[in-house]
């Protein structure tokens, strides 16, 4: 990495650039927090304000009135995310590593095999039948874990990362008689920490946000993950309001059953908040690059 000593104009510009960028990211987010704490009537009459006329925490009461349900949902989500991420990283990295090896005879064929599934799929119905009748994971945690275990997109990104690792070090390790699994475990994995952390973060994020499979396969209220709990009321509202024929139907919709504006923002905080706390854990691996030399030595 280039050494940085003394003042440089370019450094100042870089910081200015990032300062603007950071502000543009933080201001809207601050807005979410503020709105989630704003009194509902105040939103109705004045719209969103950076400094609201009247604060209120009622938006959170809605979810905190049944803390058991919320805590259990957090538990399910954490369990699914952790198990899912670990398993997924194992699958993704082994596959990605295999694909990154240019000397692997089935390299192209396997790449294609993986890539093809990124574009073509059987659709929802066969997937549902496979999960319920084939794998029989309905109403289990696996229903939320299995579908997200391997994303072809991430495998191919992993391949991109790993193909930068100089082939010579693999070759020299092989020359010393190292077996493939040792090369993978002792050379490749340490060298791929930034890659693993990046993909691990994204994979965990996907598991964290998973609600669609839960919606399809989970009927047991005790296994409902956080996002399904939060998202379904929110989606119900958007779904119903986007369908004009609903209002013409001879049924009365009780709109008060749907979350208020501030509650929607509270949902955003409750659902995305924990991921932000997890971020620093992954970030440790992004800060410093690893040197091949260090591994070799």
């Amino acid at each position: 990495m280039p050494a940085r000593k003394g003042f440089r104009w370019s450094t100042l510009f870089i910081h200015l650039f990032f300062a603007c960028l950071t502000l543009s990211m933080l201001v809207p987010l601050a807005l979410i927090i503020v709105v989630s704490l704003t009194d509902e009537q105040s939103i109705l009459h004045h719209g969103f304000r950076v400094i609201p006329d009247k604060f209120s925490t009622t938006a959170y009461h809605y979810f905190l009135k049944t803390p058991d349900t919320l805590l259990r949902a957090y538990g399910v989500t954490i369990l699914v995310s952790v198990i899912g991420t670990i398993l997924s990283l194992i699958l993704t990295s082994t596959m990605g590593y295999t694909l990154s090896r240019r000397d692997y005879g089935l390299n192209r064929a396997t790449s294609f095999y993986v890539f093809f599934t990124m574009l073509f799929n059987g659709g929802l119905v066969p997937f549902y039948i496979l999960m319920t009748r084939g794998l029989q994971v309905k109403d289990t945690l696996w229903a939320m874990i299995i579908p997200g275990l391997l994303s072809p997109f991430y495998v191919l990104i992993m391949k991109g990362f790993m193909s930068k690792i100089p082939y010579e070090i693999i070759e020299s390790a092989k020359a010393e008689g190292a077996r493939e699994w040792r090369i993978y475990a002792q050379l490749i994995l340490p060298l791929s920490k930034p890659a693993l952390a990046t993909l691990g973060l994204f994979i965990m994020f996907n598991f964290w946000n998973e609600w669609f499979n839960a919606l399809l396969f989970i009927d047991n209220q005790k296994l409902v993950p956080l996002q399904l709990l939060l998202v379904r009321t929110m989606n119900s509202l958007d779904f119903i309001t986007s369908r004009p024929e609903f209002s013409a139907a001879m049924v009365s919709f009780d709109m008060s059953k749907f979350p208020s504006t501030s509650a929607k923002f509270a949902i955003a905080i409750l659902s995305a908040g924990p991921m932000l706390l997890v971020f620093p854990f992954f970030q440790r691996f992004f800060v410093k690059g690893l040197t091949v030399g260090a591994i070799k030595g």
């Binding site: 950071t22 799929n121 119905v125 066969p126 039948i129 973060l201 994204f202 955003a268």
Partner: protein
């Protein structure tokens, strides 16, 4: 002789093959087995007859997409937006990643965290934020405009502004993710390469040009090829929630995915939905194979397969 070759081929690759085996099996079960279900795109799927037992109807389920007066408009929008998202994101993310690499640890952490924040928000939430800015009555933007003595703008009615708004919003949400990918790529570059460049007397930007960019090329190319594959698939959440699904702006916001949703959401026809998906996949597939072929001609090592 021939058997010997086979044995050698197997012998040489068996270890790596075993390595990929768990993933290969997973993909086979989860992706290839259900793929047969895609035949319902060519069938009039009646549930009591099952997928395989339903009647073949050829391309009938595809018709509505091509018969539509809007086929051109939504295809054009989808492709143009995807190209623009692809270019903007790649360029900006590379810029950000490279600049991040130039600054000290303390700041790096702050900037990185700030940039990844929007990535964790759903499109629905983002749509509320944009609404806070663009709302006609109470929006910040119109507030500022009137404060400066300008006329209020009906943002949600004005089709011309939406290409800019959508690009900004997309960039805002995705920059953290993409920059992180490239940044992780930069971190994976062998530090000795930089050392060697420095010994040669290279300046900052020379190192970027001669070391960073070439080293990142495989990753960039892979990401580009992959996004080419999704050229016909738009970001539904972005195009549905952010413009508030307003008819007035469809001419510039409507993409294949939102159109299909509008057209099919009440019909709930599995076969027609599957037909659209298959069409999008097929075009994407052709494009990727073409892109991959081109890349292979230029530099075989960078190609995807």
């Amino acid at each position: 002789m021939r058997r010997n070759k086979v044995a050698r081929f197997i012998g040489k690759n068996i270890e790596l093959f075993t390595f990929s085996l768990p993933a290969v099996i997973y993909i086979f079960v989860m992706a290839y087995v259900p793929m047969f279900g895609a035949v319902i795109a060519f069938k009039n799927y009646e549930y009591d007859k099952g997928i395989l037992g339903s009647d073949w109807v050829g391309f009938k389920n595809f018709e509505f997409l091509f018969e539509s007066e809007n086929a051109f408009r939504i295809t054009r929008n989808t492709i143009l937006y995807n190209i623009s998202y692809m270019l903007m994101t790649t360029l900006f993310a590379l810029l950000v990643a490279i600049l991040l690499h130039e600054i000290s640890k303390k700041w790096l952490k702050l900037y990185q965290t700030a940039m990844i924040l929007p990535f964790f928000l759903s499109w629905v939430v983002v749509s509320y934020i944009t609404m806070a800015f663009l709302d006609h009555q109470n929006g910040f933007l119109n507030g500022w405009l009137t404060a400066l003595g300008f006329e209020k703008v009906q943002w949600y009615f004005d089709a011309h502004v939406w290409p800019y708004i959508l690009n900004v919003v997309h960039l805002w949400k995705s920059i953290g993710f993409s920059a992180l990918v490239y940044f992780a790529g930069i971190l994976g570059i062998d530090a000795e390469l930089y050392e060697a460049a420095r010994i040669d007397g290279a300046r900052r930007w020379q190192m970027i040009r001669n070391v960073t960019i070439p080293q990142l090329t495989p990753l960039i190319v892979i990401l580009l090829i992959l996004s080419v594959g999704n050229m016909f698939r738009g970001d539904f959440g972005l195009h549905y929630f952010i413009p508030n699904n307003n008819g007035m702006t469809y001419s510039t916001t409507d993409i294949i995915d939102t159109y299909i949703y509008r057209a099919l959401s009440t019909i709930g026809d599995v076969s027609m939905a599957s037909a659209v998906g298959l069409y999008q996949s097929f075009v994407g597939f052709v494009l990727v194979v073409a892109a991959n072929f081109t890349v292979r001609r230029i530099n075989e090592e960078n190609s995807l397969f």
